[in-house]
């Protein structure tokens, strides 16, 4: 029998439905891989019994001839930012260590309803703040990839680094991610997998620990475009419990997949050609254009003039929202409480938050508090919002000239663990290509393009018009069919 853990979402779903293997066999195979991959530290908590329970339910349904669902029999990893009923949810923080929600996030509930099972809660950057998964209270996640001829540990990207490693290392056929400023696309790119951030509002934020509410958006991370389409379809949908949720029907993205791009115009934004970008990245971009042209698309040059202001604006808006969103972690009602002898309320807040938050989280709370404070609000927050509007207008104008935009996902391949220690601003630059689409709330995807000279994967990013996930997925599919990317990391863990 083939190794079931080499199968993706569609293959597992169809195989279970067709009786080629049982959902339980699949769950057992992935549970075993999870258990054997402790060195990667991709999971904060493994839940093999949850995976088996869901699998057994699917097998029982099949025995009765019932519909198994879009994700029937597919076990997945759940980023530990999604609240899961009865299973510890930490956002990779000390302050939420031991917190067990009594409710299930809408997105995870949708997935379970579609027949998926949970392998465990995936590690991430603390409160989704980071691009390397080095800010988790539960330790770094390691990428399964290594540079050719080097044994140095590499980062799996962030903040969805547990998700990217789990999928790349075959610990899960797919995983949930969340993307605030690139947290799905960047880790997908540096680990050679596929991930899509849908239009803001497609996936409910209810039950997802908030980082920056106006930017946070969940999406799937999987091995290929088809698997992403299937899983996104299961995750998305209007949720009256989220005021910013899109009240629109969920399209049938899987059925709509079509790699023929005749009549489509793909824009190449000249401002994304930045100094310091790796030559290999530029090469992958050139190949991407060729592949899309080959698929029938017309390549056009476009301008997104405010691109260079996007990252600074993001690092004002996101921390501002975070500084307020994270105020609820105060040691009063749940999670960590540090109550020094004789301490009053304010002392308890200070002690709890000092002990409960990591350095990067504290840094962003401080930045956010500063930019919102009296006397600085107009100079920072108001200006940043204006830039956000200008960035969104850049895209709106671009849609007059093209249907999709092609760009690199990241300015470089995976970097070594600790590579940016002491230089957070340099680290922030890793999301320079990802952030504009986040500010504009647009659907954007990363698909693997090629390996660089070091044997490390590089991703290409496709950005679409609002609500046009289908166009994005189709272009991704066209690239996927032409790139021939089938590299996997050599197992060393």
């Amino acid at each position: 029998m083939t190794d079931l853990t080499n199968l993706g979402v569609k293959a597992i779903r169809d195989g279970v439905a067709g009786g080629d293997f049982t959902a339980r066999e699949v769950a057992e195979a992935f549970n075993a891989n999870v258990a054997a991959a402790k060195d990667l530290n991709a999971f904060i908590v493994a839940t093999p019994e949850k995976a088996l329970e869901a699998a057994d339910a699917v097998d029982a349904k099949r025995a009765k001839g019932e519909d198994l669902g879009q994700m029937g029999g597919v076990p997945i990893g759940m980023k530990d930012l999604f609240c899961t009923d009865g299973v510890q949810t930490t956002a990779a923080s000390h302050i939420l260590e031991g917190f067990v929600p009594q409710y299930e996030s809408t997105v995870s509930a949708n997935l379970w309803k579609a027949g998926a099972g949970m392998l465990g809660k995936l590690n991430l950057d603390q409160f989704a703040m980071g691009s390397s998964n080095e800010t988790s209270y539960f330790g770094n996640v390691l990428s399964p990839w290594k540079k050719a001829g080097s044994n140095a540990a590499l980062i799996p990207g962030g903040s969805s680094g547990g998700s990217s490693t789990a999928v790349a290392a075959r610990l899960a056929p797919a995983a949930t991610g969340t993307d605030t400023g690139g947290s799905i696309r960047q880790p997908a790119a540096v680990t050679g997998i596929t991930g899509i951030k849908p239009t803001y509002g497609r996936c409910s934020r209810w039950g997802v620990v908030a980082f920056a509410s106006s930017l946070d958006q969940a999406g799937p991370m999987a091995r290929d475009v088809t698997d992403c389409a299937i899983m996104l379809e299961a995750m998305a949908g209007f949720d009256p419990k989220d005021s910013t949720s899109l009240d629109m029907p969920v399209p049938q993205w899987e059925a709509g997949l079509n790699a023929d791009l005749k009549g489509k115009k793909v824009g190449i934004p000249r401002e994304y050609r930045m100094d310091g970008t790796d030559q290999a990245i530029l090469d992958s971009w050139e190949r991407g254009k060729e592949w899309l042209r080959d698929a029938g698309a017309e390549i056009v040059d476009i301008s997104l003039p405010h691109t260079k202001y996007a990252l600074p604006a993001y690092y004002i808006i996101a921390p501002a929202e975070a500084s307020s969103n994270l105020a609820r972690y105060d040691g009063v009602r749940y999670g960590l409480r540090d109550l020094p002898e004789g301490a009053g309320l304010q002392d308890m807040y200070a002690a709890t938050r000092a002990a409960g938050f990591g350095d990067e989280v504290k840094r962003r709370i401080l930045i956010g508090t500063y930019v919102l404070s009296a006397g600085f609000y107009d100079a920072y927050y108001t200006q940043a919002q204006k830039i956000r509007t200008l960035v969104a207008q850049d895209f709106e104008k671009a849609w007059g000239e093209c249907d999709l935009i092609l760009a690199p996902t990241t300015p470089n391949a995976a970097f070594p663990l600790g590579g940016f220690d002491g230089d957070p601003l340099a680290m922030y630059l890793n999301d320079v290509f990802a952030v504009p689409a986040s500010l504009a709330g647009l659907p954007a995807m990363s698909v693997p393009a090629m390996l660089n000279g070091d044997g490390l994967p590089l991703g290409l990013q496709i950005v679409g018009k609002p609500f046009d996930e289908q166009g994005v997925l189709n272009a991704g599919l066209a690239i996927e069919q032409r790139s021939g990317f089938d590299a996997t990391p050599e197992k060393w863990w």
């Binding site: 609240c83 917190f99 106006s214 005021s243 009602r333 404070s373």
Partner: protein, 499 residues
């Protein structure tokens, strides 16, 4: 203009007052969660995941709270903003689980409006006055801390967290405690008419932050103000102003300066004290709440709000005076409270139907009954009265008998006493208890003839021009009839016979 002045050692001072009234919105559910808003439940039993600020929880606006705020705005003739937005006001406190209050700083739902306070000589308001209203915004209430449950710790009850409040901000248009008192009473009345707040100040459904400053009479610059928080009765609002104004005058006259600060009212002593000074003021870091989209109100929603508004106090008072011919005093008294006009209008309709006359022809009679006679009887009976017997049907029946001359005013009171004690039917009481006037001209004529015959001298004097003796004849006749004769009939017959 008011003539409220503080006589200082250096001259006369006037007071400038602005009020921020927090009114709890009448709604079954909270502003952004489905939790119940009922008062008096066990602590922490009406707390949703959203109210407790659990991770990943999101607010969803409750349309009914928004509707009530809009209707309130319409009732004060205010600008309604079809586009408004919620902001977060950030600060840490144990009664605020989210670490921020969702409020509206930059774009409130209701803009400028106004409210009329009526002249009331006795209260020191010589003429009608319009008080400007700056804005109404909607926001979340906070929880309640309990400091008396444990020797070293405070407990927190989150039941109130997230209940919708309207903050109604006046302009600094008031210049005396009396005006401020009248403003709060009038605002309370409007809220209760509209049904957007129960106005129950004891339960904290309505509380005021009182802004007070003083200046020398004739100065155009405003003085530095203080804000006294959470004052929960009309009387206390007036006390705060009285105290603060005098305190500020004392400070200024002794060479000091008034600090812009937040103060607390001490009910026991009737004084105020510093809560926090300007230096300690929070930086609330207001910014638009990214969990919520801007609030956009469409025309259909706005017209439903407008059409659902009842007749409001000023319009009702004008109609009572104009159409029903009531005195200004009666009109004001009857329209002050929802319960009062409700009872009056029901009784008026029942009485008019019973008598078969238009409402305007019986309105004065019903108003006098409702405002003075009926409450008087009820009060004199004390515990003996069962208010359940005070039905509009019974009262209308009494008023109809009186209108037809079947009973006198005194008999009406006596009958009503029995009604309140026993719930018996008024007509049956009048019949069986002998509480009816005699209108039978024969019996009255006989009595008159006898009296006139026995008092020939007085008859001569009357005919000779001593008009005052008419009263004597009436008195004698009523005495002979044991007080049960219809006075109108007696008068008429006497006039006929005396020529």
């Amino acid at each position: 203009m008011t003539n409220y002045r503080i006589q200082g050692a250096t001259g006369e001072w006037e007071v400038v007052i602005g009020l921020e009234v927090h009114a709890q919105v009448t709604s079954n559910a909270k502003l952004f969660s489905g939790a119940s808003t009922e008062f008096g439940a066990e602590p922490n039993t009406q707390v949703s995941l959203i109210d407790a600020a659990m991770p990943g929880m999101l607010p969803v606006p409750n349309r009914e709270c928004i509707r009530q705020a809009v209707r309130t705005g319409m009732a004060i003739e205010a600008q309604i903003n079809a586009w408004s937005r919620f902001d977060r006001k950030n600060y840490f406190y144990a009664d605020l689980p989210q670490g921020y209050q969702i409020s509206q700083l930059y774009h409130p739902i209701v803009g400028e409006g106004q409210l009329l306070i009526e002249a009331d000589e006795k209260a020191g308001i010589p003429e009608d006055k319009i008080i400007g209203i700056e804005r109404i915004h909607v926001e979340q209430d906070a929880g309640k801390l309990m400091h008396d449950q444990h020797p070293t710790m405070s407990y927190v009850d989150l039941n109130r967290v997230g209940i919708a409040l309207m903050e109604i901000v006046s302009k600094p248009d008031m210049t005396s405690p009396a005006e401020a008192g009248a403003y709060v009473r009038k605002l309370r009345s409007i809220l209760r008419y509209v049904g957007s707040c129960d106005g129950n100040m004891e339960e904290g459904s309505m509380r005021a932050d009182v802004n007070v400053s003083v200046r020398k009479v004739g100065d155009s610059e405003l003085g530095t103000r203080t804000e006294t928080k959470n004052v929960n009765s009309v009387r206390f609002v007036m006390q705060v102003i009285e105290y603060e104004a005098n305190r500020q005058v004392d400070v200024l006259e002794s060479g000091g300066t008034v600090d812009q600060e937040t103060r607390l009212f001490d009910v026991a002593t009737g004084t105020t004290r510093t809560m926090r000074s300007k230096e300690d003021a929070h930086d609330y870091r207001y910014f638009p709440d990214p969990d919520l989209l801007p609030l956009e109100l469409d025309d259909a929603f706005l017209s439903e709000c407008r059409e659902s508004l009842p007749e409001l106090p000023d319009a009702k008072r004008a109609r009572y005076e104009g159409e029903l011919g009531l005195t200004p005093y009666n009109a004001r008294e009857l329209t002050a409270e929802v319960e009062t006009f409700g009872r009056f209008e029901t009784l008026l309709a029942a009485t008019a139907t019973r008598i078969g006359k238009p409402e305007k022809d019986v309105a004065t009679q019903v108003a006098n009954w409702a405002l003075s006679v009926a409450p008087g009887v009820m009060k004199s009976l004390g515990d003996e009265a069962d208010p359940a017997h005070a039905s509009s049907g019974a009262q209308a029946s009494i008023l109809a008998m009186q209108d037809k001359g079947e009973i006198s005013g005194g008999q009406a009171k006596e009958i009503y006493e029995i009604v309140l004690k026993t719930g018996r039917d008024p007509e049956e009481i009048a019949d069986t208890e002998g509480l009816k006037q005699v209108s039978d001209t024969g019996a009255i004529e006989a009595a008159i003839d006898e009296i006139l015959a026995n008092n020939q001298d007085k008859v001569e004097q009357y005919k000779g021009g001593k008009d005052k003796l008419f009263g004597f004849f009436v008195g004698q006749t009523m005495k002979a009839m044991q007080g049960k004769a219809n006075p109108a009939v007696v008068n008429q017959l006497l006039k006929d016979k005396l020529g």
